[in-house]
């Protein structure tokens, strides 16, 4: 079921909210089970035949986690074995459903063998819920998840606002909220704040993302269909895609955060104005934050720590040490991040390109650090960064992001390379007449408006900052302050603002409920 559908807005959500709060009178456990079943229904709506995959994942991971929790101290080797089996099962399922076709396709292409490739349907949200379970099992083994009951885990693992496309949540930030005495008791502050956040997210998705998509998709298809992509068309495509995916996914994340809040649960942030970042490193801290958090904790750090120890042990210093301890784990991490998005060479290039960006960014930081130290040693003042330099940082960051994102969007590596060549002038500077007709004034106005919103206005959590919009909001309150400050309060004009966002968000569903870009992952 889509958040941006009438069936969800007018049928599922009111029933889920009513049932959840009414059943609380019979006991918290009833509310929890009702919400779990509603969430499974929400998932099954899309393709009922695939619900068993989610159910198996819930049962298997609960029992694996339970045994790890019970035997962690008394039988550590058994607990470790179960952890390995659990992780293998989770990753095996992900590998099978997501990558089998890609691997077989490439094996067939390289070997020249002639065999049929089975069509394996990708279960909805498998990348998201599998990562959540992996984090849970690892947390169990680290002793961070304790005494989880099946009802708590079932709801944690199926909670519909975050089930299909995140934010990817940690056990330790959600289960304690389920255990809170007020969980399931209606608090109108949660409903009001949640509804406001949801409305803004819906508006971003249906009014902005889908409008941009309606212009972007035909232009992208024309560019991919043939002909040399020129510089202006290439950049227009890249900017449009980045704005579309930003409004789409951040809109989705706002909706998820708002919906969870209506049920009294605070989710973590997923976007924090990433397109206002002044470096690629900062961009990646603020784009799809819950995934970055996962990748950092469960991939980058486990890779970087032993490499750091190795560098110390073998006395590898200077740029060689930098290469070993920073560049190597960055490339591996971003390679995995790329293919997490999907099985395709475009995603591989997307990951590696971002690995290169981050490595270069880290190297630049290292150079600046060394220069600062050198100046300090010499007793000279360290010059402050000027406004012009910061503008250049922003522009370079955006150029990197726009370029990388085209490989993320491209339906094939060839398409990605075509647009990349166009963007960077390899196809000449003249405007391709076939693509010129897509320079629609409305499209350009829409993109300009979107860019101004992204550049100047506060993001959703900054608007709602008075009401602690996310579980980890305090970590981000001082980051990425917007040029224009605007805070929501429940005054009549601002309530009317939410009502207008809700009205337009719902009305624009009439154009057709488009799926969220990240549902594909």
């Amino acid at each position: 079921m889509l958040f941006n559908s009438f069936i969800f807005v007018f049928f599922f959500l009111p029933i889920a909210l009513s049932g959840f709060y009414l059943l609380r009178r019979a006991g918290r456990i009833w509310s929890m089970w009702f919400l779990t079943l509603a969430s499974l229904g929400f998932y099954a709506w899309w393709l009922p035949s695939q619900t068993w995959i989610l159910l198996v994942s819930i049962f298997a991971n609960f029992f694996a986690g339970h045994y790890i929790q019970v035997h962690k101290d008394t039988k550590p080797s058994l607990a470790k074995l179960i952890l390995i089996l659990g992780l293998t099962g989770d990753l095996g399922a992900l590998l099978y459903f997501k990558y089998t076709m890609f691997i077989l396709f490439n094996v067939r292409a390289v070997s020249g063998a002639d065999f049929a490739i089975p069509h394996i349907l990708l279960p909805l949200g498998i990348s998201f819920f599998t990562f959540q379970k992996i984090a849970y099992l690892v947390d169990c083994s680290r002793g961070e998840a304790k005494n989880t009951s099946f009802s708590e885990f079932a709801l944690f693992a199926s909670f519909f606002p975050q089930l299909i496309a995140g934010p990817i949540v940690h056990h330790k930030e959600i289960i304690p909220q389920f255990r809170n005495d007020v969980f399931g008791k209606i608090q109108w502050s949660n409903i009001l704040v949640g509804l406001s956040i949801f409305s803004m997210g819906l508006f971003k998705k249906t009014v902005f993302a889908d409008s941009i998509a309606s212009y972007f998709i035909p232009m992208y298809k024309a560019a991919a269909a043939g002909g040399a992509v020129d510089v202006r068309s290439g950049w227009l495509i890249a900017v449009a895609w980045t704005l579309q995916v930003y409004f789409d996914f951040s809109g989705y994340s706002d909706m998820a955060i708002g919906l969870a809040r209506m049920f009294g649960v605070r989710l973590p942030l997923n976007f924090h104005s990433p397109l206002r970042a002044a470096s690629v490193i900062d961009y990646w801290r603020r784009w799809h934050m819950s995934l970055q958090r996962f990748i950092l904790a469960y991939v980058f750090q486990p890779l970087a720590l032993p490499l750091n120890r190795m560098a110390v042990r073998r006395k590898i210093k200077g740029w060689a040490g930098f290469g070993l301890t920073v560049v190597t784990p960055s490339f591996i991490t971003f390679f995995l991040l790329g293919i997490w998005h999907g099985a395709g060479w475009g995603y591989v290039v997307y990951g590696l390109l971002n690995g290169a960006y981050v490595s270069i960014n880290e190297a630049y930081r290292e150079l600046r650090r060394r220069r600062r130290r050198s100046l300090q040693r010499e007793g000279k003042p360290v010059p402050a960064e000027g406004r012009a330099r910061r503008v250049i940082y922003h522009l370079i960051t955006l150029a990197c992001v726009f370029t990388g994102n085209m490989f993320f969007r491209a339906e094939s590596l060839h398409d990605g390379i075509q647009i990349f060549r166009g963007m960077w002038g390899f196809n000449g500077l003249g405007l391709n007449a076939d693509l010129a007709r897509y320079f629609d004034p409305t499209f350009l106005v829409l993109l300009t408006l979107g860019a101004l919103i992204v550049a100047l206005l506060p993001n959703t959590q900054q608007i709602m900052r008075n009401y602690r919009p996310a579980v980890n909001w305090r970590l981000w309150t001082a980051v990425g302050k917007p040029p224009i400050v605007w805070r929501w309060r429940p005054t009549a004009p601002k309530l009317l603002f939410v009502a207008t966002a809700l009205f337009l968000g719902v009305e624009f569903i009439q154009r057709g409920a488009a799926i969220f870009v990240y549902f594909n992952f």
Binding site: F503, E507, F508
Partner: protein
């Protein structure tokens, strides 16, 4: 949440948002629009011919003596040139215009008749009927109907009320925006005579569809194929909503509500209504509401065509041979009604 906001304040504010959102939706439905632009909203759909009908009524100075409204069976089965020819042979000069549109639903036909009566003085309106009235409205209604007509449908509690009312604010917003900036919305404020002239008065001539396939309604189909199609699609005629019978009496009344309106408006403008029933292949069903239609005007029942496979293009539509027979019969009925 701040301490100054206790439970009832919060509840009131939540309700305020929901009520304000609904109120906005209602207010927006009263935004002004232009009928010509409403009809253009169908340009990229299979109902694109509705625009031609509008232009014929409003921008073409020729009179309309006989207007045909109905579904796709009427589009293919009632050939206006043949009806004119036959009438002429009877010494009756009349301009016949087929404004029928693919798809069922009397509500859309009422919108066309309303537009027709604004500018023309037809003598007869030919209204195609089925053996069982279609319980739902037409898909195009929400695009071309004035807001007041969509509210009227809601007042009667008809089936499509919910989806049409939901769509109305979006449509009005779009039309209002288009009235300020027509270009980006692909709508034209002014009549394009060249475009209009390029379209045939009779859409049943051989042509190529979007896939490039030749469509020739003169073709016939093997009887076995027609029988299979008729059998496979028989349930389509009897499809009804799953609502209780008492509720259906209200919700399924599209045909009766809008037929009444059409007939009443026609009579007010001095026009008569001729009801024409053409059966689907191998479905010699009687007209369930015959008495009702007969009380409003003459009924031409062509049920005898039902088993003549040589006259059918597919399981529900007549081919050219069948259309010629039906058109001649309609012309004969019209001949008695026209002065």
């Amino acid at each position: 949440m701040r301490s100054d906001m206790h439970k009832w304040h919060l509840l009131r504010r939540t309700v305020f948002i929901l009520v304000a959102a609904v109120a906005l939706a209602v207010v927006v439905t009263f935004l002004p629009d232009k009928p010509y632009e409403r009809f253009q909203l169908l340009d990229t759909t299979i109902y694109a011919r509705a625009r031609w009908s509008f232009e014929r009524m409003h921008f073409d100075p020729r009179p309309i003596d006989v207007a045909i409204v109905g579904d796709s069976k009427a589009v293919l089965g009632l050939r206006s040139p043949e009806i004119e020819r036959r009438l002429a042979s009877d010494g009756k000069r009349a301009l016949v215009v087929n404004m029928a549109l693919e798809g069922d639903g009397r509500n859309q036909q009422w919108i066309l008749v309303q537009e027709l009566l604004k500018t023309k003085k037809p003598k007869v309106i030919v209204l195609a009927i089925n053996d069982r009235p279609y319980p739902w409205g037409h898909d195009s209604f929400r695009y071309i109907a004035p807001a007041s007509e969509i509210w009227r449908e809601a007042f009667h509690g008809l089936h499509d009320t919910k989806k049409n009312l939901m769509f109305l604010p979006f449509r009005q917003l779009k039309l209002f925006a288009a009235s300020l900036l027509p270009g980006p919305f692909g709508l034209q404020e002014r009549f394009d005579a060249a475009r209009y002239a390029a379209q045939p008065d009779d859409p049943t001539q051989p042509h190529r569809n979007r896939k490039g396939e030749l469509i020739d309604f003169a073709e016939t189909r093997p009887r076995a194929l027609l029988l299979r199609e008729a059998r496979d699609n028989a349930a389509e005629f009897d499809r009804r909503s799953k609502l209780p019978e008492r509720v259906r009496a209200i919700t399924d009344a599209d045909d009766r509500v809008f037929t009444d309106l059409i007939v009443h408006a026609a009579h007010q403008h001095g026009a008569e209504v001729l009801f024409v029933y053409q059966p689907a292949f191998h479905r010699p069903a009687p007209i369930v509401n015959r008495a009702y239609y007969q009380a409003l005007g003459p009924v031409q029942d062509d049920v005898d065509l039902a088993d003549r496979d040589g006259l059918y293009y597919d399981w529900v539509h007549l081919n050219t041979a069948g259309a010629m027979i039906l058109s001649d019969r309609v012309a004969d009925s019209l001949s008695k009604m026209l002065p």
